[in-house]
Amino acid sequence: MAEQTLITPEMAEAVGRDYEWTTSYPIETSDIRRWAIAMYYPAPPPSLYWDEAHARSTRWGGIVAPEEFNPFAWMRAEPRGDMGFDTRRPWPELRLGARCPDFRANIFAGTATTYTATRMRPGDVITSVLSLVGYEEKPGRVGLMLFTTTENRWTNQDGERVRTARSVLIRYL
């Protein structure tokens, strides 16, 4: 009897490939302010994220975005009109053109993000490149689970790396 697997030959073939290239709209100060409000609610956000006069007095020399800020929410500049992945099916295979099972669930398993000293600032345009790092299967309470690791590399308009994030998604039937 063949061993059960959730990894199709097309999926295995796609490991290591880049599969999404996106560019953000220029970051607005209001994007940073709103992000910070959501992060610090119900406390007011730190002045660094909304008060230019205060921010100029810090080591950063002006308003910067919190490190975890996402400039790709609410549509991307390129591809034009792209609203981002479907949150019901944030599956690399859909962009890689690889046949995959019809999973019932997508669960965040973890992430590790490393930041450079280059901060995101108002006016910056960020480019993201996503790649499929690999798959791992493990038995679980809900049956066989597929762990998918992706890597997301962000650079700014000057080609400076801003951050690198590896994330793991759990899926099952």
Partner: protein, 145 residues
């Protein structure tokens, strides 16, 4: 703001907490465009095998940055690395508590690097995740290690 005289391995940093309810989750959803059904609707989460709606993993990860900056000071320190491995979901109705412990302090290239183990529990004491983090201060801003 950090107490400069206490920066050493073993130091536990002040915790932060967030109730697991839509007042908090929807604010994050609104800025991150993150509207998956299992974050917004108990029934959708139950279909996937959870007891109730679950908090967003990226929000939990983002809050670790807040934990670090609330302690270190965002005007001075910078976050270098934040990693987490999820163990259990953050269920609606449960309060998330995050904390960390300094594991190492080193100095290089004009900066003071501080490594930490970080964690998140809910208000019943269940461990939701473990992880690791690193931040850096300008070396001149702190006393010698």
């Amino acid at each position: 703001m950090i107490d400069l005289t206490t920066l050493r391995p073993g130091l536990e940093i002040p915790t932060i907490s967030r109730p697991g309810d839509y007042q908090y989750w929807n604010r994050y959803a609104a800025v991150n465009y993150e509207f998956a059904g299992h974050h917004m609707d108990d029934a959708a989460a139950q279909h996937e095998g959870f007891e109730a709606a679950i908090g967003m993993g990226p929000f939990i990860h983002a809050l670790l940055h807040v934990l670090l900056r609330e302690w270190a000071g965002e005007d001075v320190a910078r976050v270098i690395h934040v990693g987490l491995r999820s163990r259990r979901p953050w269920l609606r109705g449960r309060t998330l508590i995050q904390g960390g412990t300094v594991t190492a302090v080193r100095e290089a290239a004009g900066e003071r690097f501080v490594s930490l183990d970080v964690w998140g529990d809910d208000d019943t004491g269940e461990r939701l995740f473990t992880g690791e983090a690193e931040i850096a201060f300008p070396a001149g801003s702190l006393p010698p290690p």
